[in-house]
């Protein structure tokens, strides 16, 4: 039986932090801090293509000259990404979507967050292979012309548009839910404002990402 007395131990007996809780908080943190920041940086870098191929190549060169770059890529991008994707797939497997019955806005966002999680993962695997791993294996140089040669293909270009828009949605909607997960936006009014700001961010980064893609062709 549970104790029903006032003379309870102020410190609970079991003070072990539960695995599931920690994993869920790390999942939220990984999505926003290393991955979200990296994505914003990446979108900004790509947007230099809007100012011409020379400007873009210069920017690529600048990034490639960062010391210990492969280590930074592994620890700040690859590992958080693999964890975020793995745990995210697990989370979407155990949830049972019901948007057919409950067509509420937040329920739809919940569903699209899981859909874009999968599309983003597929997109990222292809994208990392073609512009990060394949150039290492085959010794090709990463520059404007390489990106141009890929994006000239209309199918690859469309795939990139879907991939970029999906990833931007996943990130900006993730900020909205992250604010709830971290207990910042508590009531419905603040959550509505956060939702509007995130929608604005989605529009800004979405337009930036897609116009940058057009700059390569």
């Amino acid at each position: 039986m549970q104790s029903n007395s006032l003379t309870v131990d102020p410190q609970p007996v079991n003070r072990n932090i539960k695995k599931r809780f920690v994993l869920s908080r790390l999942h939220s943190l990984a999505g926003i801090v290393p991955l979200g920041i990296f994505m914003v940086e990446h979108l900004l870098t790509n947007s230099t293509a809007l100012f011409g191929s020379e400007k873009y190549n210069e920017q690529i060169h600048l990034i490639q000259s960062i010391p210990f770059l492969p280590l930074l890529e592994i620890f700040l991008v690859a590992i958080p990404l693999i964890f975020h994707a793995g745990y995210g797939i697990y989370l979407s497997m155990i949830s049972k979507s019901n948007i057919q019955t409950y067509k509420y806005e937040r329920n739809r966002l919940f569903f699209f967050q899981r859909v874009t999680g999968i599309t983003t993962l597929v997109f990222i695997i292809y994208h990392v292979w073609s512009f990060r791993l394949a150039p290492v294996f085959y010794g090709t140089e990463i520059n404007f012309d390489l990106v141009n040669s890929h994006l000239e293909n209309v199918f690859i270009f469309s795939f990139y548009v879907i991939g970029v828009v999906g990833a931007v949605f996943h990130f900006t909607n993730g900020i909205r839910t992250g604010l709830i997960t971290w207990g910042v936006t508590k009531g419905p009014a603040s959550q509505r404002i956060a939702q509007k700001i995130c929608l604005l961010l989605f529009a800004v980064f979405g337009v930036l990402g897609v116009t940058s893609l057009f700059a390569f062709i």
Binding site: R25, G183, P188
Partner: protein
Amino acid sequence: MSAEKVIRLKVKRKDKMDSESYWEEFAIPYRPNMNVISALMEIQRNPVNTEGTQVRSVAWEYNCLEEVCGACSMRINGKVRQACSTLVEKLKQPIQLEPMETFPVERDLVVDRQRMFDALQKIKGWIPIDGTYAMGSGPLISSGEQQEAYKFSTCMTCGCCLDACPNVNSGSPFIGPQALAQTKYFNMHPTGKLTKNERLEVVIGDEGISNCGNSQNCVEVCPKDIPLTTALAELNHEANRYALWSWLKK
């Protein structure tokens, strides 16, 4: 004219806990201002399906008939709600009635809501006031806090929030919005606060708040308009702090 008017119902039935579900249709005479309960009572009075066969009458649960007991929750035209406060005139026909399949279905529309009562035990859903001597009166509660707590006190353990939550299902350990909102309720009481950490242990546990996916269906379907998502966000805040602090103190 009006005597010919009928209401068509389509009920998802089940004879025993371990038997298969099947659909059965009924047509009952229309009366003004009917709710789903009175429609089901009509079936009970004359349990004949649309094929004209005499069948076992449909089983369902109800008590208060005024949306305070939580017993008559069921899926009406897909969405979970209380049968007593759902008016037949506002529904598309045939009215489709299904049990809340998130819970074990016992018979027809009757489900076993025990998991929610177990959950209240897990979160210690009570205020500890019994001692071996007189404890005296407790601290005063401001009227603002009373107003806030009142909303959570109206929870009738009906199960709508669990049934509409995409993250409450057989594959997930989630305790559900009802128990978490009650955690907030008992934690905000000045005497209930004394056992706050024990409740937060459940919140950061495997069944706890980490399973919430922010679909916010719970607050949309709650018949009592309890601010469930506000409670969840506040608990997130408390749980994060509690988890970090208790780890740093280890």
